[in-house]
Symmetry: C2
């Protein structure tokens, strides 16, 4: 590249972009780790975007109608941190930049949501940024339809790298965004032809522009170092009604001796390389110092949106009080006051009528009561609407011609769905839930983990949660997926036993502000086990005594979901033989673990033998409750799965795999013998 | 559709295809569940493929040079079962068809590898069939390069549905296959425009032909009910050097009243619908009966390849004895006799020289010794070659111009890589291993589960296995991924502590015939802890006493991988205070669980307090060893992670998260107090 030509053609632009490049070089050198090349390559695009297009006010980073900027290529985090520092986000001080990648700094190796305003989502796991951005763009459409253009009218901009586009989830995002004509979604592809292993062509020769076009995108190609071309392309992208992809031909690690190489992708820390690159940039300031006129220009950019933001405040204030309150409540993730009474009424009715229902159907019942009340919910399914029971009659399909639609037909795209749900939750104003078969937790996992890490309350509706789904066989029968979600920090895994517990689980899930929930729901019908109405949400305690022992308490059966009824039947068998048996329903291990020890000991006192019952592997957190505070394997056992399932009717499978009341009773007797 | 026109145009073809359709209707009706529409829609394509193109011999279903047929749309399993029955695969009797989806039948809801010959891979989780097929096609290329066209010269055919093409993994497969010009891979897209939720256009309007073309595929579109057009398209697909996609416009549930509807996707069980459909087919035979002349025609198809197969036997016999032995050994998944001595020499050297090495580097050392010996290995990485240390100097890149290459640059495609590795293992003759960062287990999960379910020994090299990776932060730091893999049935999770254990782990992984392995390897350097050479493979026992207590045994520290050295340091601290402390290294919990109880009790005797040490969540199987056979939480504890990690240098993170020798020693003292 002829840097001199670039510098002289657009000197003001050049210096602003050089500020990003030098901060990146300095921070990576100080950390002695990180990724220099991407920010150096994309500095021009980012500068044009922030200077001329991005609607934001650094002093009010949470302004709901700001444009969102998603750095899907999260390893280039210094691009984002530089921009936040330069434009004057108060939290992003030069000290933070100097402490890049150090303990306690908000400038983590990859952008971490919650560390600082301006970081809209956690990125790093590639491809998920673009998929999450789809959810941001959807949320904007929904808010605009609901509150009008004067309140919601912003763009979602994404920088994606070659890695993002190779990850399969990008295809799910691209195809879905194209179908939905998300015209305010604009993706910059950092087309630098370099990955860690070498040139892109080592593993890919896809014509990315043709690929995006095939899914209905508006596509342009520009020189990613030509500010005028970048600006013109963004103008065009904003004008089209299609989602836009701008292929930006860039040079990774621009201006350094590592330019256009895999080495340039990583940490450039060699002092001579850094000095030479700065010299080529015409940069003479010391490390971490931005000449004041350049900093002033950047800060002016950071203030550019202040007036627009103030005008927005006025427009927002012109909404009806009720609309304002609704809007704010949803952004604050507060539930409507009426939720508790609606849930209670539903529980009371279920306890009285004692329906036999699959918990996926119970869930539909609950949603049918909640959705009209909580208009911020947006439901959906990865092409299993009738099986996941996620659609209620009051909500229509979200479509280009119906942006008020609150139900999303995601297609067969569990990962894309989950990432986009995260995006809606992050955008604010929306409470997303979406369904698939629980076994396909495997497909959704990368986004489920990010929800937990980002502390956002996405709800994953996982139906067909055991061998109880029957004939579809072991590929569709989860056995280890409760364990997977339970092992994940900051995740509530609910396995309700009947309609009452399902209602309670939904109440906790929808009241949660910082924890995602997994609802593990059955395909098969279950009897109501909560026959006595309780005002309190017992599921919120994680576990509770469903039926106590009659006579001397010799055994405790601990069960979840569909196996609670089996435990109750086992209790009948044991009591008939004079063995006093308590049944503990444990719909949420995480919440039980959060209770104080006194309560836990009350529910699981020392003394009796304990048998856990769950149609899944014992590794799903059971040993803590079976062996803990009680001890000795000789006094505890487990009835569940020890391997994968099989294809047969559900009742046959329960019998063949030995998950029956008789088997439970036998285990108890063997332990007592 | 004008069925009469179809029937009269190609009556012989029609009847053969109708046999598939009626068997499907009968089996689904008998099971009262299943998926009728796909086999009914794709029967014509499958008939032409099997009749005119597929190279197979039903009497010798494991013939190595057969064409492979992969039903990626696995829910249409009755298509495959019908074909296997009709062409005369001995195991696929009419009784099996009648017992579709019943306990003990080989005709599971989705095709399960291992249930019957002719089922080349387990499918059902959508998109994975096509991604697995990529591995089959690669294995064929590699075998052809190595043994010549006379021994390996076959095609891989795939039927993929709309769901397969919506799943992101399909893009990973398509892009990779295009780059690699896998010309013998031919994909039929069942373009029926129907998914469970409605028409495809509800969630997708992608121009699939343009999408495949963008990645370098040869693309054709045909009427999927016109046998001549299908035949001609397959001819063309075989002639091109590119991978081929044939878009087959079909009618789901053809000829029934549910044709072209979502209802037609599922189980058609209504007797009148079935009767009407059969009448429209001109089919008068009773349920499950195939008129003898039609069955005879199908059986002739099943025998069509017998001569070719016999000729292949002769050609194979003409190979040198050594080549024959090599070929057969690899297909039988036998290791070379020399492997044990090579591993022992490596162990001895490591114990003597006691290098400080990251276990990912230890792994590279081991592979450098193994790869020249086991020429059936094919390594690779999802664009992290230098980080995963998966490439050894003796193996070159697999490329269109170098099919002898045994190293695969997979690109940033963890799921596609893992599925294709499974495909190579299933094809036979290849032992695949591939690397990524352990946190991206999340991306690879769907294929890792299928490896376990299918009982194939794929090796997943997961480096950067804890907070020990440092600055990249929590998105890249696994904490729950050991738990995830350990909760998965039939999976060995190895977390070796040094070069010696790494060598032992590789020996077990490469000797395994039916169990996939996860190697959990560090980024950071570790001291050698196995300083005394042992001939035996101690890792194969799962856990063993690394250092025994001096004096009275009061504490047992159980640790894995990078934390074994910490446990050893804690032991020093404790012994210095006179507290006799045993250190147990536990590189593989699954193998330890397989040992007899006497051995387990010898390693973990009752009495001493126990502290586990692992830089991961306790949910990763620890409670069994901490609480089991010993009891009482008051006598056991764990030093590890309780939430996600953070971005900082590794040594800082270990300190901040309290995973130190001092913390371990303190826990022991608190338990003893």
């Amino acid at each position: 590249m002829d840097l001199t030509a670039l510098r002289t053609a657009h000197p003001d632009h050049w210096n602003k972009a050089a500020a990003i490049r030098t901060l990146t070089l300095d921070a990576v050198a100080a950390a002695n780790s990180g990724h220099s090349g991407m920010p150096m390559g994309m500095a021009d695009v980012a500068t044009v975007l922030f200077e001329k297009h991005l609607k934001f006010d650094a002093a009010a980073p949470n302004w709901p109608d700001r444009d969102r900027f998603i750095l899907s290529a999260g390893h280039g985090s210094m691009l984002l941190y530089s921009l936040l520092y330069l434009t004057g986000y108060p939290e992003m001080t030069i000290e933070q930049i100097k402490n890049f990648r150090q303990w306690g700094a908000i400038t983590a190796g990859h952008p971490e949501y919650g560390h600082a305003p301006g970081i809209e989502t956690t990125t790093g796991p590639l491809g998920q940024g673009i998929a999450t951005a789809v959810g941001f763009a959807m949320a904007e459409e929904i808010q605009r339809a609901r509150y009008g253009r004067k309140v919601a009218d912003h763009h979602t901009y994404v920088i994606a790298g070659d890695g993002c586009l190779m990850e399969g989830v990008s295809q799910e995002a691209i195809a879905f965004a194209g179908r939905q004509q998300l015209g305010k979604l604009i993706v910059f592809w950092d087309n630098n032809n370099i990955t860690i292993d070498g040139t892109v062509e080592l593993s890919d020769r896809t014509d990315q522009m043709a690929r995006f076009r095939a899914s209905g995108w508006h596509v342009q190609a520009v020189d990613g170092h030509d500010p005028e071309a970048i600006d013109a392309a963004i103008e065009k992208a904003k004008a089209t009604r299609k989602p836009s992809m701008i292929a930006c031909k860039t040079h990774i690690a621009l201006g350094s001796s590592a330019q256009d190489t895999s080495k340039g992708h990583g940490a450039l820390t060699d002092p001579k390389l850094i000095a030479d690159a700065k010299a080529a940039y015409g940069w003479t300031a010391p490390a971490f110092e931005i000449p004041s006129e350049i900093k002033a220009e950047w800060e002016a950019i950071g203030k550019r949106g202040a007036v627009e933001r103030a005008n927005w405040d006025i427009r927002f204030a012109s909404l009806s009080e009720r609309k304002q309150a609704d809007f704010t409540r949803a952004y604050d993730r507060e539930v409507p006051k009426k939720l508790t009474s609606v849930i209670r009424a539903l529980k009371k009715d279920a306890s009285e009528t004692a329906p036999k229902l699959a918990t996926r159907a119970s869930s539909e019942k609950v949603l049918a009561a909640i959705n009209p009340l909580m208009t911020e919910t947006v439901g959906g399914s990865a092409d299993l609407t009738g099986s996941n029971n996620t659609k209620t009659p009051d909500i229509d399909a979200f479509m280009p011609e119906n942006r008020k639609g609150r139900y999303v037909y995601w297609g067969i795209r569990e990962h894309g769905m989950s990432a986009a749900m995260n995006g809606m939750a992050l955008h604010g104003g929306i409470r997303p839930y979406g369904g698939t078969f629980m076994a396909f937790t495997d497909y959704a996992r990368p986004a489920m983990r990010l929800a937990a890490l980002m502390r956002i309350p996405t709800v994953f509706v996982m139906t067909h949660d055991s061998i109880g789904l029957g004939e579809d066989g072991p590929t569709h029968q989860p056995v280890e997926h409760l364990a997977i979600s339970r092992a994940t920090p900051n995740t509530y895994v609910f396995r309700p036993a009947d309609t009452v517990e399902t209602a309670e689980a939904w109440e906790v899930a929808l009241s949660s502000k910082e924890t995602p929930s997994v609802l593990s729901l059955t395909r098969q019908g279950l009897p109501t086990v909560r026959l006595e109405h309780k005002m309190n949400n017992l599921t919120a305690q994680g576990a509770y005594v469903l039926a106590d022992a009659e006579g001397k308490r010799e055994a405790i059966l601990i069960a979840t979901g569909s196996e609670v009824a089996i435990a109750m039947a086992a209790r009948e068998l044991l009591q008939a033989e004079g063995i006093g048996t308590r049944v503990v329903s444990m719909p949420c291990m995480e919440l039980f673990a959060e209770q104080d020890e006194a309560y836990r000991r009350k529910v699981l006192p020392a003394g009796p033998v304990r048998v856990g019952v769950e149609a899944a592997v014992r590794a799903g957190g059971w040993d803590r409750w079976l062996l803990g505070e009680r001890g000795r394997e000789a006094k505890a056992d487990f009835v569940g799965m020890t391997g994968f399932g099989a294809s047969a009717p559900a009742n046959v499978l329960y019998e063949k795999f030995g998950i029956t009341a008789e088997a439970v009773a036998e285990k108890v007797k063997a332990l007592l013998a």
